[in-house]
Symmetry: C2
Subunit: 348 residues, 2 copies
């Protein structure tokens, strides 16, 4: 960052900054009639239904600017919301982005953040239609709202899993959590000796899982192509335990998942091994993988069994049986909701 | 607050807190198919268009909890967004609310905030359909997104004022700013002597303008009844100067407004007098009045001239003539955009 210009935001003022950040934005979606520049954006979804989701990211809680580049942060802030839209079986079309910045942020730093935001909009064909730009007393705050479309009656909820349904996940789990452990370890080393080079070689995959996660529109499309409508779906933001518990609680069912079926990447396993932790803990409680967790009727098993991106990890059972993980040794343990309980962590 | 219980948020945890805040919510609008409880809310606007607007409020920048009760803050956070929806000639139907809270906030304090949010939802018939609850390192952050409906092609923008149109405002201006001055004065007194009673008598109107502003759906309805479609509209959040400048710049026109026509309440004038400031400055640069500023064809003048809630303050002219205020003494001065330039203030 040292070679970069650092223009104070006060040189532009609030209106100037908004203009600077948004004047190049081109709208791509037919449903966006009016984007930034009025009291509100105007949308026309015609005969489609809409889904709406929102997230608030706070510096020092959700991200640490010591090791998260602003461009990656902007990208991730958008992607985590789009992931929620896909988890409804919907397609994101618009986002609003509000930021609060302290005066430690230069125009160039905010440009980096918006470069990431705009890159995500580009990649996922989403229009940035509004937001708010203000100052904060201390750190950076980012609030994103995403809006998407879904055909009438095609939204997939959390509360409709049925007994005997298969439980599936896309991709692999636990990588984002292990990436975070790696970044935190290197940050500690850096604090002791700023001249030491970070040891990140061979871990590019888990770093990317943490710093630049992707949502899974490809899975939504694949399921449509296979003519599978999931009976329930959620995205994996809090970790497999918590997110599966949301589905089971809301659907009033139990579940049985198998340790040996849970997909783990080689790097996730290797770095967990290096830290002497069980990689399964990263998958169950780590969160931030932004993969899709969904249930399908058992009759659809043949359709997905050869898809390398989808893994069946267990099945839904009666509520009385509880939420269970069958370990590699055949013993059964109860799943515990964990999630990112920041509110509790603060007190600890 | 001293007699109140102060339950730590950690007693509930994040999921528990969300449940506590939202389990009583009942959906009122037909367009809300699914509210809180899934990855996203699901809406169905049928053949109507949607408007979307969002605001981010930060403690220490937009509000001071030394003199703003949390219930009022929650109410106002919602109303300022609804005001933006009405300013599009639309009707608000849903909001999402995200909050970041530090551990100085008890469950009871958050309940107060949500009581205000829910009261505003009740009063304006809006559904609370989602949000995010997280912790912050320091102060309180509130992010609200409002969604509303408007008939096809009936949205009123800022960029369509025409030469010779009349410039109108609802209600009276400058009250919210004078209310803020009063609260800040009493807060200074309190800091010096906490036992001194605040001197607020006779100023209830300007206090309410600051602490509990209302949006103006009644004006939207009145205009519909009078069969007037404004040629342009904006809500007065930044102050008459800035907001009128937005209309003129985007419409590529100029304007002429008259000092003596600008509606000021008696309390606004009296307290401005007490502080030896010109109340006109409060109207022009104060902001936060959340009245509607709009332009109408001159041929509609007869329809509104007897409406006590609408005042004609001037007219639109050619862009070359600039943006002008004609003073009581007949001299002409140029309007300056001011607004709440927090970003600049920080540096001063």
């Amino acid at each position: 960052m040292d070679n970069k210009k650092a223009t104070p935001v006060s040189n532009l003022g609030e209106f100037g900054l908004i203009h600077h950040l948004t004047d190049q934005i081109q709208l791509k979606n037919a449903s966006t009639l009016k984007g930034i520049g009025d009291d509100a954006a105007v949308l026309d979804y015609k005969n489609k239904q809409q889904v709406v989701t929102t997230d608030l990211l706070v510096e020092g809680i959700h991200f640490n600017l010591m090791y998260v580049p602003l461009k990656h942060l902007g990208y991730k802030a958008v992607v985590v919301n789009l992931s929620d839209v896909y988890a409804m079986n919907a397609t994101p079309k618009q986002i609003t982005v509000s930021i609060a910045i302290s005066n430690k942020f230069s125009v160039e730093a905010i440009d980096d953040l918006y470069d990431g935001i705009k890159l995500a909009c580009e990649k996922y064909s989403v229009d940035l239609i509004g937001g708010d730009t203000t100052s904060s007393v201390t750190g950076l705050v980012i609030s994103v709202t995403a809006i998407g479309e879904v055909e009438d009656g095609k939204a997939v909820y959390r509360n409709s899993a049925k007994v005997n349904d298969l439980i599936c996940v896309s991709g692999d789990l636990g990588g984002a959590y292990m990436g975070l452990q790696l970044l935190e370890r290197e940050n500690e080393v850096y604090k002791v000796n700023p001249n030491e080079q970070p040891q990140l070689e061979g871990y590019d995959y888990i770093l990317e899982r943490q710093l630049k996660p992707e949502a899974r529109p490809d899975i939504i499309k694949a399921l449509q192509k296979l003519e599978i409508t999931p009976t329930s779906m959620i995205d994996l933001s809090d970790g497999l335990s918590s997110d599966l518990m949301h589905i089971c609680t809301q659907s009033k069912v139990g579940c049985m998942i198998y340790e040996e079926k849970i997909p783990l990447d080689y790097q996730t396993k290797r770095f967990a091994d290096e830290l002497s932790i069980n990689p399964l803990v990263a998958a169950l409680n780590g969160g931030e993988d932004y993969e899709l967790l969904f249930t399908i009727p058992i009759t659809d098993h043949d359709k997905i069994k050869n898809d390398p991106d989808i893994t069946v990890i267990g099945h839904i059972c009666e509520a009385e049986k509880g939420l269970n993980l069958v370990t590699g040794l055949g013993s059964m343990i109860e799943l515990q909701a964990q999630g990112w309980n920041h509110l509790k962590k603060e007190e600890e």
